[in-house]
Symmetry: C2
DNA sequence: AAAAATATTTAGGTAAATCTAAAAAAAATA
DNA sequence: TATTTTTTTTAGATTTACCTAAATATTTTT
């Protein structure tokens, strides 16, 4: 019922590599964890003995249902702390992960559920990744800022970070709102502005600042 | 510059036993840490090698100046987290310590200084123990709730937890304010009410609820 | 289907933090 | 002061999480 920091890091990495569907390989996990394949094999045996892993030697491995539950618990803690650091302590987007990597291993259930409540049950961490609930269920779907969405792939607008009126002004002017489907036609490296095309209007350009404030996701998800 | 959880727990316990003044004994520290004397001796050698400890075998030991600095850093983290748990997450008085025991080992300086700022630079943890500042300096002095102050020992009122007007009403009525010196004459086990005596007034009784809301300290400190 | 290349596991070791049992030093007592 | 008791240290194991080097299994290439 209680796992070491090291065990938790292995479980989390396995989940991040393949969820609980396909098989993961020893070398792959060793690379992910910056450790050696022999060390991975050692840990695989231990996690299998604890029934967190489905594993036969030389055959690859994946999380058991129990292992997946544990993984989602760790991810819940990680992402709640990232949200806390970002929203309450004003950490920037790229500083939160490292600290959350440590905080996630403090396992008090009460701590995490109270933190969740205190934060207002946030749906997404600062990188747009969904936060699992108490039961480990993920309701939302990963979202990405428009400035990082790949070219020529249909996206659906799912949120806006900065909701001050001058930001919403721009969106209104360009007829963008939650649910709008669009494609990024071109990204200009000079100023990182992007050319956007929606269904019923000619293509237009928005600045990087604006593109960074718009969350998008795969349509329909 | 970076110490393991185990090393940190040893350092903190040494500080709690004797500050950095008198010598601590091996058995004493083993009892405090619920470990064996042999394990303590092993760790003493390691901490001495790291110059955190002044120690000659069979002679007892105490923290070096560097060791004291490290101890105060850990205590700062511990007490700030206790304050956070109590004030922000609504943990009760007696639940905070156990969780803080884990959180204290997350050592990001930025995390702790931002947390301190976010909390409004609190002076005391939920048990009345003073919180060291960024430099490890302790400005305040330990305070205790009046309901736990020993009988017949002079106390000075240093604060009030619940500051709603009906509470302040009582204090005004009994002529108690910050700085008032008083003694607890008797504690009635039936309802934990306490008989109080101040300088220029006859003794009077206050309820446990009120006594729990009044912080006191050694006069003059 | 061999041979070669690659991936994985096993064998054997190390460092940290713990333990028990035995030895040695210090303190208390007779 | 000699003996006994208590405290502390040393010696030698154990567990966890790593490692390197060698062995073995699997996959790819010829
Ligand atoms: Mn992260
Ligand atoms: Mn981690
Ligand atoms: Mn505490
Ligand atoms: Mn601790």
């Amino acid at each position: 019922m209680n796992y070491s920091t090291s065990e938790e890091n292995y479980i989390k990495s396995i989940y991040h590599l393949r969820g609980d569907h396909q098989l993961v390989t020893t070398n792959e996990l060793a690379a992910e964890l910056k450790t050696r394949p022999a060390s991975v094999t050692d840990m695989l045996k231990k996690l299998k003995a604890k029934k967190l892993l489905i594993y036969e030697r030389y055959q690859g491995f994946k999380l058991s249902p129990e292992g997946k539950k544990v993984a989602l618990g760790i991810i819940r803690r990680h992402r709640l702390w990232e949200y806390f650091l970002s929203v309450k302590l004003q950490f920037s987007w790229d500083e939160v992960h490292e600290v959350a990597e440590e905080l996630e291993h403090v396992t008090s259930k009460k701590l995490i559920d109270k933190l969740d409540e205190y934060l207002g049950f946030p749906q997404y961490d600062p990188h747009g990744d969904p936060i699992p609930d108490q039961q480990g269920k993920i309701h939302a779907v990963k979202q990405v800022v428009l400035s990082e969405w790949p070219l020529m792939e249909l996206a659906e607008v799912s949120g806006v970070t900065d909701q001050r009126s001058d930001m919403l002004d721009i969106l209104k002017h360009q007829n963008i709102s939650i649910g709008t489907k669009l494609e990024v036609k071109k990204r200009f490296s000079f100023d990182n502005s992007v050319e956007i095309k929606t269904k019923n209007s000619p293509a237009f350009i928005i600045s990087e600042q604006v593109a960074k404030n718009i969350w998008v996701k795969k349509p329909g998800t």
